[in-house]
Subunit: 219 residues, 2 copies
């Protein structure tokens, strides 16, 4: 399987398919047509078939997909049959919003540590059962709690310094919410979440609807 | 220009190109090669040329792109030469994190109103110069302040009710942070931000690096 040839947009869509399949499973569906799955995910059914074709043959012609089976296969592809340990670095509003967000544990992502540099925050007990640690304990706590991913929610001005510390520990990847491009050693996995990129897509869509009323299906 | 044929992944990448061009401009670059721009955006240069080709001819062979000009053109395509008025609905940790986030005004998105149902929050003055309004004032405040986009940061259990209210006002689009699929009238623009989808991509990348050390370039 040539993983390196798989477009990253396909990986993003696989996540969406898995979210939709979970909802369908919760609603009691055992089988779903590619058309219905496509509608749930706001893509067309040819796209789903093309995305899945990278990984093998799925589905039954004229019937569709067995929900439980396809969900299992997609999770296997995405490596989601394992759970991941996360640390959050920067306990401001965003840090608290994320650590309390129910989606993370539901999708197999568990916060096991939190860090800050503010003496007023360090030592504060969180509802997750652990305390906010000082940044000076990053290496030790990350190793002890087997942290795999660091979620950076510091101000932009602190994020690079934090990333420099993270890459020296046993933590193997970064999800960056700070509005700044991080420089890390080549090959070190980093993803950046920029909320405004989604707003650009929405604005583009709204602009198009306003000026071209027949082109509603843009996105 | 057949906007309806443009892949939404292209629109997302255009946003990234514009962010990178802004950085380059700030660093004093007047011209940039497609290779350098591609490295900044973590795509290959053929992808940039393909994305831009949807909208016309850009760049000079053997030279590259004039930074200021390409930035202007991309912003025009994305409709970003106008600014947008946003309202935030749900002033919990995430609401406060977003309203204080410096990236929004920098990219032309201005929060002009905030709403909550909690009597303890309603009336509280924000650093942005306005107070948190009660949900019952949504229609009036949205019209008066010309709100164009609603950013929903309520708990999942409240988000659909809020969306039902939003679509009845003059607000024309929704950015949804609540972990739930919203049902809105057909053609009404909604984008959903699910943080865990990005984590899936990161996890997929990390899993691949672990098992296939030669395939680092996956994403």
């Amino acid at each position: 399987m040539k993983y390196s040839k798989i477009p990253s947009a396909t990986i993003t869509r696989l996540s969406r398919y898995s979210r939709a399949l979970e909802e369908l499973e919760a609603q009691g569906y055992t089988v779903v047509s590619s058309e219905k799955l496509a509608r749930q995910c706001a893509v067309n059914s040819a796209q789903i078939r093309k995305d899945l074709a990278y990984f093998g043959e799925f589905g039954v012609r004229g019937v569709g997909y067995v929900v439980k089976e396809l969900l299992f296969q997609i999770k296997r592809i995405l490596g989601l049959n394992k759970t991941w340990n996360l640390a959050i670095i920067g306990m401001g509003n965003l840090g608290f919003a994320l650590i309390d967000h129910s989606n993370f544990p539901k999708q197999g992502y568990f916060f096991v540590a939190a860090f800050d540099i503010d003496p007023q925050k360090i030592g504060r007990k969180l509802s997750q059962g652990f305390e906010i640690s000082p940044m000076s304990d990053l290496e030790r706590v990350a190793a002890e709690r087997k942290v795999e991913i660091a979620v950076i929610t510091t101000p932009a001005s602190k994020a690079q310094e934090v990333a420099d510390q993270v890459v020296k520990t046993s933590i193997r990847g970064i999800l960056n919410f700070a509005p700044v491009q991080l420089h890390v050693p080549e090959g070190y996995p980093v993803h950046h979440i920029d909320f405004t990129v989604k707003l650009d897509r929405l604005a583009y869509m709204m602009g198009n609807i306003a000026t071209e009323p027949d082109d509603k299906k843009t996105s």
